[in-house]
């Protein structure tokens, strides 16, 4: 049986790994390479690395750091942030990325996403969708939550399907870093409207939050960070609890 993936999320800023709350309020939590090594050793199912400043600052991905991380990862590695050209994509795959995570290009350069899909396949492309509730309506944001787009979750999901991306990384900006639990309503809505695997992100503060988003909202995978850095849970403790509850996780 296919397992629910537990995916640590590394946010990269100023050469270190940080943790934010609602996309602001950054606190340093560690060194990129060490973090990757630890998560690999502890059998994380996959790793997500997002350079949260590259797009805002118009910078390219930090290939040197990403290559160091890739060397530690014998699990799938998704890379996002500042990827704007095919040259960047080629280089990222060459240094060991398995998936390219796109956000800005969804709105500003969809042709670029098609090009990546055509060259590397759908499975190599993850669409990162950031959502915030505004006046009680879900709105899709870009540029690390700074720019509101005209998209609703539904319209962006259809857009992703048209572009033939392989997966959706769904982040609730309202919940991100709060450790108050995932936005169950949002995840459920998106998981129901698409056949693409949905990775829920933002809000995990305790193991029961992860259980809920899988059982109640139908997430195929969960992305989390604070629960590791601030709560001290590990991949292993999380999986043991999920396993007890009958959720399929990879124990070996």
């Amino acid at each position: 049986m296919l397992k629910v993936r537990i995916i640590p999320c590394l946010l990269f800023k100023d050469r270190t790994i940080v943790k934010s709350v609602r996309f602001t309020d950054f606190r340093m939590v560690g060194d990129p390479t060490t973090s990757a090594r630890v998560f690999n050793e502890r059998n994380a199912d996959e790793l997500v690395f997002l350079d949260i400043m590259a797009s805002r600052n118009g910078e390219r991905p930090n290939f040197e750091v990403i290559e160091d991380i890739a060397k530690e990862c014998f699990m799938p590695l998704g890379i996002g942030g500042g990827i704007r050209s095919m040259e960047d994509v080629d280089l990222l795959f060459q240094i060991g990325a398995d998936k390219i995570i796109v956000n800005t290009a969804l709105f500003k350069d969809p042709e670029f996403i098609k090009e990546i899909v055509n060259k590397y396949g759908s499975q190599a492309v993850v669409a990162s969708i950031d959502v915030r509730k505004k006046d009680d309506v879900y709105k899709v944001y870009t540029c690390s939550g700074e720019e509101e787009t005209s998209h609703s979750p539904e319209s962006i999901v259809r857009h992703c399907e048209d572009l033939e991306v392989g997966e959706i990384l769904l982040t609730s900006i309202d919940k991100e870093g709060t450790m108050e639990g995932y936005d169950l309503e949002l995840v459920k809505m998106v998981a129901k409207m698409t056949k693409l695997p949905v990775i829920a992100n933002g809000g995990a503060g305790k193991i029961s939050d992860i259980k809920e988003v899988i059982k109640d909202s139908g997430a195929d995978a969960v992305c989390c960070a604070s629960i590791f850095f601030w709560v001290g849970e590990s991949i292993i403790t999380i999986k043991q609890e999920l396993d007890k509850d009958g959720i399929p996780v990879r124990m070996r």
Binding site: K3, A70, Y120
Partner: protein
């Protein structure tokens, strides 16, 4: 970390680079297990090797076309079928071992193994099959030595192989049991990615180098 496996001092793996996905992950994994390897874009590279590894992500038709135009189809028949060099195909690299695929009607595969590659059909799950799933090992698969039954490996694919001959293999359940690894003498294949499956995956690569002598 690993079960001890003896490496012949002269083992040299040729990793075929035929433009189907990156070979960097394979390189990293082979570095990690201290295996000797070379990356080759031409059939001549296979002459120097004791073992041959065919990775690959992507479309069956393009995979066969690229192997054909770069001369690898003839060379693999020579090296793998005649000279019996141990061969490991990963993901698309395994699928290409079969006679044909529903992904590319009318395009013959390498045909080293009797069977067909089919699309996942009538299953209550999402396609592609992405993530970690168990391999149930049938008797006699040396590739899995030192690995417990029902160990999880990383998969990412929409098509899977079906066998028309009785050879050692492993199966995985995704709506139904499909063939997730094969072993026909010196010809081996895994639908999953050992290079992305942490310690157990690296053990598979170690077994490939250690247990199959040219």
């Amino acid at each position: 970390m690993f079960k001890n496996v003896h490496f012949s001092p002269i083992s040299m793996i040729a990793v075929i680079d035929y433009g189907m996905g990156n070979v960097r992950s394979i390189e990293k994994a082979l570095d990690k297990i201290n295996a000797e390897y070379l990356i080759t874009r031409t059939p001549e590279g296979l002459d120097k090797a004791t073992h041959i590894l065919l990775p690959g992500v992507g479309h069956f038709e393009l995979g066969m076309k690229n192997l054909e135009t770069s001369g690898f189809v003839i060379a693999l028949n020579e090296q793998v079928i005649k000279k019996k060099k141990p061969f490991l195909g990963i993901c698309l690299g395994m699928q290409l071992l079969f006679k044909k695929s529903e992904e590319a009607p009318g395009i013959p595969g390498l045909g080293f193994i009797d069977g067909e590659v089919k699309k996942f059909k009538d299953i209550p799950y999402k396609i592609p099959h992405i993530g970690w799933n168990e391999s149930r090992i049938k008797e006699g698969v040396k590739l899995f030595e030192g690995i417990e039954n029902d160990t999880n490996f990383y998969f990412i694919h929409s098509y899977h192989a079906t066998l028309s001959e009785d050879i050692p293999h492993a199966t995985t359940d995704y709506g139904y049991d499909f063939v997730s690894a094969v072993e026909k003498g010196n010809i081996l294949g895994t639908q999953f990615h050992p290079e992305k499956s942490q310690k157990k995956g690296l053990q598979i690569l170690k077994n490939f180098v250690g247990h199959y002598d040219a």
